[in-house]
Subunit: 347 residues, 2 copies
DNA sequence: ACGCTCTGAGAAAACGCTTTCTCATAATTC
DNA sequence: GAATTATGAGAAAGCGTTTTCTCAGAGCGT
């Protein structure tokens, strides 16, 4: 029972195409043809090969396939922070959508280290058939330079001008304006925006939106307060918020709002009776806070699956340079219980 | 300026080792040696090669390397549901720890479809150097059969007897007992356990723990209520909880507890004054609910990084069959504001 | 000055697969 | 029945690396 000429190195080798070929008494090529259904193979032989394959539990080695086919059936995603529910949701949507088409996703977390992003993205690209760059913190110039080298690329929360790479963005500017408008309609006259990370493009968009809002509502007092993007930064801002004297708070996102909510609660300040608070994103937790959070809903699951669709389009087209879609989502204000008319409307 | 014999197929080929070799006037082999610093190379030549490499922006193709080296520097993780913060945290911990050692992670979400788990795990294994199986829902028998085929394998929340694969588990049984004890100590006499998914091994552990608890506290009334593992199932149980007449509620996990918290709030029932609620896991959101949730803290970030350490040990040892560690974590009860003495202790 | 060891670079095999190329055999046509 | 065309399987080239094998030339000792 010789193992043939293949028994050269390891005895406990993983079963390869050669083993199946030997067992079925055919050539490597024929096994490959049968496994991939590529060319016509005599039904009898095909059956023999298939039988040998199942008997040996043969599973083609994906690395070998990848090298031969020039594709890995894998896409990469680079996120600034995997702890952020927004990015988790995008990752999830992407992963599920991609899986439906037989693709897997490789993840890379830049941990908000801007300088790592380009490296991670490049590495991911070399291992994968494409890359999704999620809310990159790098500069526009850097992004512009990097984009072409990544080519099958989908951008989330950023856009490029030079190359026409598909991008998915959310109109944060509009969303924050609508939230501000909501507060004003309720009767609030003194607002605070608790801003997010400086490198965040979406934070800049919110600021631009609020500038616009100021022009349209010169009668409203709108203060800016520096913050971050997580619970803790919201919590830490509690005192500053209280002493601001504002009655309506626009938090950078839901996480910040939740941190703030908890801080206010500890201080015995009632929401929404004393202060109204809004979030942004409508993460799944937002409607379960106490009180449920008024926020601007970003269709976060769709983002992931649409990202995959755009990626797939590029992978399939390969050659033809089609015009790439620039999708923009408008957040929808979700009014819950964390906002209400202020107790005393100042004269 | 001929491209040499390499210009056979695509003009816009990706730059390969051959291009560098040609430019530096050396052989493929030498370029490889320089890039990997494997063998001694004449400093002059090495410099020439390196110069050529940077000029051409040469980056070795990982697929080629993987084939040659028999490793991918990638590990896979299979989770039942990427929407669950617990698994997200594990994924994150794993990803960050692995990245520190130059490894990437490929994710697979079985979406709670038990029959997919084995397939996904197998596929992941073929593409990666190892697999982390996170809270698999499959039967013990299936797991026992699958484990050896996955070999560099780390199990989370499950164990195997046959193969000695390292496993990380949490003593859910003890944790839930401690929470129950906490409620009893506060004066509660009527408790409810709002249980989780049936296929979940950790749910079974909780049930076993509570059986034990019952034996030790025959005087306590402990009801079981069916539920799930997310917000909605907690929210949906609100009525059943209220009509149970219990004053202390042990929710399957923090998500369920949060859903319940919100349901109780809507019904005007105060927590903890009227009813005490506990969660499990101590997800980041738990301390920001209103009121902050009493829960059993699972060291969730450590789980991910420890999973990587165990994986790395196996990858490095390769040959030597070392005894594999079975790590067990004891949850630590985190007392917050969602539990308190019941208003009226029944006679 | 001759032979020996040692250093270092190129040739070639290997990794596991797909696919083109080639050719034998069977099927078809006049 | 001989020439022509389908059909289908094997041989071999490639995919992009690493690594073993081989060998030329430099350095050394006597």
């Amino acid at each position: 029972m010789g193992r043939g000429h293949m028994a050269r190195r390891n005895t406990n080798r993983r079963v390869g195409i050669a083993d199946v070929a030997e067992k079925a008494g055919v050539s490597h090529a024929t096994v490959s043809r049968v496994m991939n259904g590529n060319a016509a193979v005599d039904p009898g032989i095909a059956a023999r090969v298939r039988a040998a394959a199942v008997e040996l539990k043969y599973q083609p080695n994906p690395v070998g396939r990848s090298l031969a086919l020039g594709k890995t059936d894998t896409i990469g995603i680079v996120v600034p922070d995997l702890a952020n529910p927004t990015f988790q949701a995008i990752l999830r949507g992407l992963s599920i959508a991609a899986a439906q088409d037989g693709y897997r996703v490789l993840i890379a977390d830049s941990s908000e280290v801007t300088s790592e992003e380009a490296i991670l993205a490049g590495e991911a690209r070399r291992r994968c058939d494409g890359v999704v760059l999620c809310a990159p913190r790098m500069s526009d110039a850097e992004l512009e330079e990097l984009a072409p080298t990544l080519h099958p690329l989908v951008l989330i929360n950023r856009t490029t001008v030079a190359t026409n790479t598909p991008s998915l963005s959310v109109d944060y500017g509009q969303g924050i304006q609508e939230l501000a408008q909501h507060l004003v309609t309720l009767g609030h006259r003194r607002l605070v925006f608790l801003s997010g990370p400086e490198h965040s493009a979406s934070n800049r968009q919110r600021l631009v939106g609020l500038d616009q809002f100021r022009k349209e509502h010169p009668e409203i007092e709108l203060q800016m307060l520096h913050g971050g993007s997580n619970f803790d930064s919201g919590h830490e801002s509690t005192e500053a918020i209280i002493s601001s004297g504002a009655t309506g708070i626009l938090a950078f996102n839901d996480l910040v709002a939740m941190g703030l909510l908890s801080g206010l609660h500890e201080r015995g300040i009632r929401v929404p009776e004393d202060i109204s608070v809004t979030g942004f994103d409508d993460i799944p937790f937002a409607k379960y806070t106490t009180p449920p959070l008024t926020t601007a809903a970003v269709p976060i699951n769709e983002l992931g699956s649409l990202a995959w669709r755009r990626m797939r389009e590029q992978i399939q087209q390969a050659g033809e340079a089609a015009t790439q879609a620039q999708d923009e989502f408008s957040p929808r204000v979700e009014i819950r219980k964390s906002t209400a008319a202020p107790a005393l409307t100042p004269a």
